[in-house]
Symmetry: C2
Subunit: 230 residues, 2 copies
């Protein structure tokens, strides 16, 4: 089942928006409802796996949970389709990590299909220990990333070191925030600008390498929407 | 209550080693036992807060959960005592983050008492979704850190960038692994060597600044075990 079909099923059939729940740890008879949001994203990811099983939807997971993606879906492609699960509290702007910046740049050379991954994103609220799902989206990475003042690409930056790619507030009216990119092309070009600004000329071949790897992959699966030259 | 008293109560009275439990997320009637270890550490930290409350043990938390420590205990010191909670799967070596390396170095200048923080560490196993607490320790940071081949201090290093301070396997017989430091002095000196190797001469004043800040704090609370000059 494709990511889009899973999304429709979860949103329209299961009616997940408005769903309520609780996150608990029980240990030696002492059950604690966890009022902190830290583990909710990971717990929702596990929950989704069980929900997929209950609905007889095929999925696989990578050999290491440290590696992307969260879930691998079957679809018509020779390469399996990546589904990443993210979550954030709806009282704040989304601040989750999309990927380690440099690892992401490297991985696109070997796994250009990672660019086509779908991001299933939950917004939830937490009152005491009650979790409520407030919204859900299915997005491509360029639909949830944008520019920033520090670097061409919005990233988590500590003391000049770039750690992770971070989302912009893609669902706002953008009067007060940065809008997401318009296209995959714009995203890849901005990643490239950021990489060269950060790492210098040694990375100047990155764009063409990614473009060729991605386009070769897209042509093999018979799809268009290729990356154009700079 | 001091960290040592809490540790004794948890270990000897509550008998936490061997305790079993489960980590769950229930959402719209679908309850999932989480079989991944990712959120267990954070859940154990929440669980500990509830256990402290049930035992009428005072604690406070910092204004932001992003800031250290996990818990602030009252004790006789004018500065409150820091308790950090960590957890790892007992099938692996401990790989949790002790602190962001550079933020930790900076914070010691303003909060030298952070050096005296206690680390309450759970080792657990996970069979299916059943969590078992296999061991528990209360340690100072220099009792769980050591050297490495890449840097004088064992840290998480990606592509030459230092991210976090990581523990050594402090409980092994050390025939095959790096032993922890012998003293606070050795730890601070090694942090200093790492900082200078990483950041260069601009950090050469760090050791004396930390030494003075820490010793001033220790003298104010009427305690010895000061940091000596290099």
């Amino acid at each position: 089942m494709s990511a889009q079909e899973i999304f429709s099923k979860l949103k329209d059939e299961f009616d997940i928006v408005g769903a309520q729940g609780v996150h608990r740890l029980e240990l030696k008879g002492l059950s604690v409802s966890i009022e902190e949001s830290d583990g909710v994203g990971r717990a929702l990811e596990s929950w989704l796996g069980k929900w997929l099983e209950n609905n007889n939807i095929y999925y696989d997971t990578p050999d290491s949970t440290q590696e992307p993606p969260d879930y691998i879906l079957s679809d018509q492609n020779p390469k399996k389709h990546f589904l990443e699960v993210k979550a954030f509290r709806s009282t704040s702007s989304p601040g989750f990590d999309l990927a380690n910046f440099e690892a992401f740049c490297d991985s696109l050379l070997k796994s250009p299909h990672r660019l086509d991954a779908d991001y299933l994103i939950f917004a939830y609220s937490l009152e005491g220990s009650q979790i409520t799902i407030d919204d859900i989206w299915l997005k491509k990475i360029w639909e949830i990333t944008g520019s920033s003042s520090n670097w061409p690409l919005k990233v988590q930056d500590k003391r000049g070191t770039i750690y992770n790619i971070r989302p912009v507030t893609w669902y706002s009216d953008h009067s007060a925030s940065t809008p997401p990119f318009d296209s995959k092309q714009e995203f890849v070009e901005t990643v490239y600008q950021t990489l060269v600004e950060y790492n210098g000329q040694e990375k100047s071949g990155w764009f063409d390498e990614v473009r060729q790897a991605y386009n070769t992959y897209r042509e093999r699966i018979g799809k268009g929407d290729l990356i154009r030259e700079l």
